[in-house]
Subunit: 594 residues, 2 copies
């Protein structure tokens, strides 16, 4: 090594040793007769000192010419510092430099390499290799490294085998768009990049691998949002001879292990909620359970409870909006009764934004003196409002926020408002963690565009046996053996117990609108595999980028990816995608359309 | 779990316990009143027993209907066996079955699921999920899993950080052909799949990551041979602030760790040899050093030693072939003096095959009585031959095999003969391991097709500083700071110390025939990065598939890949590459050429 020590390891115990350090010049402080250099590497920062008189004059002069981010090698004696810096691990010592070699000069970086930088997003993406020098970015990737290590340690300890599945696979129209790769050898034919190793991991179960995992790149050619990348990483797992309960306990174990090993946090055992309840109480299949603020219904649709347990505290008072609504539902914002007119208007504007699309918002202020003030005072008496407040278990000082309309859309709208109120009330602390299992997802969801049912999870998910008859009569009501793990309101993982027999799989494909020929062409190998002794199996996949971001307390997965792409799917640093030569296109048997 | 135990764990200590096992029916032995079932899972095989009289009659009848590879769940009591089988870990016990559930039936597999199968290559590829059930195939993948685990354990312990580099990168014409991925968002533009994460790992060094590794998929669109796959896996590593010596010792450490941890073998420290010596003594840059049989020159080219140490034991005896040859060189095959005429002819035929292309082969049999018999008896006296034998340090009973011609091609031809003789003499034992570092590779190699020099390793490899002047005068003689690790005659890894300054990198691109514009378009980001403080750095990449195959004692990397492609780059199981829809092509802005 060009160095004897890193910039993070010298302590008082090293005093008097002659050491050689290498690294980047973080900062120069030139006091004329004294020159300090903060030398940085991945492991820390160490202070170098040169002093007029005792330091060779030529060396002193050379050192004064160093610039930020120069790469140097410095040799000298470890000295105890006069004024120690207890904020840095090496703060007790400094190096009295006797030799200094510039290993590489550096131009002035386009932005400052500091924890807080002046570089804009685009500039930092273009010079990602400089952005990666900044401590917070480096630490994000070190966190990711630790997460991967600990994931493997946990799964290895449970006899999971890591198996690499292929990247050049087959394009299938179900699901998101595939990235494809033209075959040079077979003109007109294409490989596809996997959206997940789903069928391969199932085949590994058919092979008897029993427990499989892989931390694996997956690809989805979808229009990107801030938190989506065309290539992303999954912790992909599958187990055979299990029940859903085994999957839940094994992977709850993984998350709790990660919290303990990476963050030193004892995550309590993960509570469970059905999809139906998640929608009913949070209007979302990924509720943020860091805070309560559950939905309370003032008027429930008749169908919801098949007649029993129906609530209606709103009808018959001439308030047409509520009278016409299928559902009247709200949240109780603790201590917000004194919200001003302006604040209340802002909330109304928020839910009326086109992205949310609500028609309006009804509020009830539960005043400290026990009175109520509401936007529907003309329709409801104090007694009425008191009943509402009781339903919400509201206390004086609380604010009820109530929405009405068609059940599903109203719940979704109220979910957005709930999250906003959680934010406003400081209930969404990034350093607090709340995980949840959401169970019993619907098997199918209706797609307006294609005018047919699509698999909500994927076509290999097994329906609950007791719901199979509904496939013919009311497909949307069929529940699947499918589950998601939610952390702080983000879906971090999802999976299902799979179909493992040909007949059921064929039936599923039928219901999804595949002709037998299409099913055979695309998934014939899997259905055939099910005929040669397929064990019951199921699995889960975690979104590793998001998981790392949540562990790091960040909203952006990009910070946790070494070389991310921008929102247009472009790598700004290497400038790709880019054109290729006509010769390459010819060899591949393709051409660009005009 | 559907089971209480695996099929590999029950012992005498479990006797009298009621257990439930799941797995595949490996074999049924039906003796009428007694029925044995060998039940298999990944962990082992356990014998089930059913007995007329004591077993419920319906159960007995049902069990008799089981077929091979049925998936069952069996409950019963663990009993001590009457006749134990000490060849299997569970051979002391059997399960007296009281309940048996068929979890899934199985059709008769297209080949037998046994260690030795009757299935041909193609059939086994099509039904890879069944092939993977066979113990040797499963064990190959378990070995791979262990290799990956132990690689990470070793590198993690040395502070290497695992960083994922992107899969959707930029196509560059240098090197092998890229697989490309059309961009839907940017019509006419393409991503490429990485042949290696080379530039990214170098950028990570510029970023200060200091020590990087990744077990990573790479892609090369080349015509396939038996031991090549379009997608393959590398252990990819890079270190900063190092000398070549640090790389050699760190990664020699990795290989020795793997041998110890995975195979319990203490590999001795890895010897080193220059590229020039490897060519001189073995005619190969990847010599199989499990056996000696070094080349001995009877006539060396004058240039080879610049006049000193020149050997010539062949000229002036009217044997035109040797007189006209630049090099006369041979090997000594111990104990082969008594090879028959037929055997000797076969060797001559072997070297004259077009793949090898030699003109002929001269032999000298060193007879037990001290006499010589040779194919060039007419030209050389016994004294001459005695001198040859001395040069070879041959003993009575040995056979000298000598070839002549132009230096490079003769060495290559003799290398093939040496490997054949090693094979014939049983010196290439798959359970013996010999590693070697080959150092100081040439920087450039001449390419007849393109009529220019290409980088032998890649364009980022640094030339030896003392050889830089030769770049102008004799580029082929410039040595690089490049090294390969060789195991049993296979290259398992290679790397180099990299260029880390813009000027040298620009000069290299010039010498490789890049115009400044081409260099900038393709690698501008890297050259720019070198201006912002790039540390000295270098690295290595190991071919993980091959490494696993060698550890497993196999010639075929395919056995160590879960879902390999065939020689035409086709996945026979999922049947890909395959056509995609016109709609997909349209969206991607491409069309298939006629």
């Amino acid at each position: 090594m060009l160095r004897t020590h890193t910039c993070g390891e010298l302590r008082l115990s090293h005093v008097n040793q002659i050491v050689t350090l290498t690294g980047w010049v973080q900062r120069l402080r030139d006091k004329g007769s004294l020159l300090w250099i903060d030398l940085r590497d991945r492991y820390g920062i160490t202070q170098l000192i040169l002093e007029e008189g005792s330091t060779n004059a030529a060396l002193m002069a050379a050192a004064k010419n160093l610039g930020r981010e120069f790469v140097i090698k410095a040799t000298g004696e470890v000295k105890e510092r006069m004024s120690k810096n207890d904020k840095m691990p090496t703060g007790d010592i400094e190096i009295k430099v006797t030799e200094l070699i510039v290993l590489n000069a550096a131009k002035t970086p386009p932005f400052t390499i500091e924890d807080e930088t002046d570089g804009g997003d685009e500039l930092r993406m273009k010079y990602r290799y400089l952005d990666l020098r900044r401590t917070p970015v480096r630490e994000s990737l070190m966190l990711r490294h630790k997460m991967a290590q600990q994931t493997r340690i946990y799964l290895d300890s449970l006899n999971f085998t890591e198996v690499e599945t292929p990247v050049l696979i087959k394009s299938t129209p179900e699901g998101a768009r595939d990235f494809v790769v033209p075959s040079r050898v077979h003109h007109g034919e294409f490989y596809a990049l996997p959206q997940s190793p789903q069928t391969f991991k199932q085949l590994l179960m058919v092979s008897g691998f029993d427990r499989y995992y892989q931390i694996v790149k997956c690809f989805r050619d979808e229009d990107l949002r801030a938190d989506r990348q065309p290539e992303f990483t999954q912790i992909d797992c599958e187990m055979a001879f299990i029940t859903q309960e085994d999957i839940l306990s094994t992977f709850e174990g993984l998350i709790r292990h990660l919290f303990k090993a990476v963050k030193g946090i004892d995550l309590p055992s993960v509570p469970r909620m059905t999809y139906d309840d998640a929608m009913k109480y949070y209007g979302s299949d990924k509720p943020d359970t860091r805070f309560e603020m559950k939905f309370v219904s003032l008027k429930t649709p008749l169908l919801d409870k098949e007649g029993s347990g129906v609530v209606d505290l709103t009808s018959g008072k001439n308030f047409v909006v509520f009278d016409n609504a299928e559902l009247v539902v709200g949240i109780c914002a603790k201590g917000c009764a004194e919200y001003t007119r302006k604040q209340l208007d802002e909330l109304t504007e928020f839910v009326k934004r086109p992205q949310i699309g609500a028609k309006g918002l009804v509020y009830v202020q539960c005043k400290a003196d026990g009175s109520f003030k509401s936007s529907v005072d003309k329709f409801y008496t104090t007694d009425d409002l008191k009943k509402w407040a009781e339903a919400f278990n509201a206390q004086p000082g609380d604010l009820l926020l109530i929405m009405a309309g068609e059940t599903d859309s109203t719940r979704k709208q109220l979910n957005e408002l709930r999250l906003l109120m959680g934010e406003k009330l400081g209930l969404r602390d990034k350093n607090k963690f709340s995980a949840l299992w959401v169970l019993d997802f619907p098997l199918l969801e209706w797609n307006e565009e294609t005018n047919r049912y699509h698999a909500m999870h994927h076509p290999f998910t097994s329906p609950k046996p007791e719901d199979i008859p509904l496939l013919e009569t009311d497909p949307g009501k069929v529940r699947a053996n499918a589950y998601d793990m939610v952390l702080n309101g983000s879906e971090i993982g999802g999976g299902s117990i799979r179909i493992h027999d040909r007949a059921t799989q064929q039936m599923m494909f039928n219901h999804l609108g595949f002709t037998p020929e299409e099913a055979k062409k695309q998934f014939g190998f899997l259905m055939e595999a099910f005929e040669y002794g397929a064990p019951p199996h199921g699995g889960i996949a975690f979104g590793f980028d998001r998981l790392c971001a949540l562990f790091g307390g960040s909203d952006s997965i990009r910070d946790y990816i070494a070389f991310p792409k921008n929102n247009a799917g472009r790598d700004m640093m290497i400038d790709t995608p880019s054109t290729i030569s006509e010769e390459q296109l010819k060899e591949l048997g393709i051409q660009v359309r005009n």
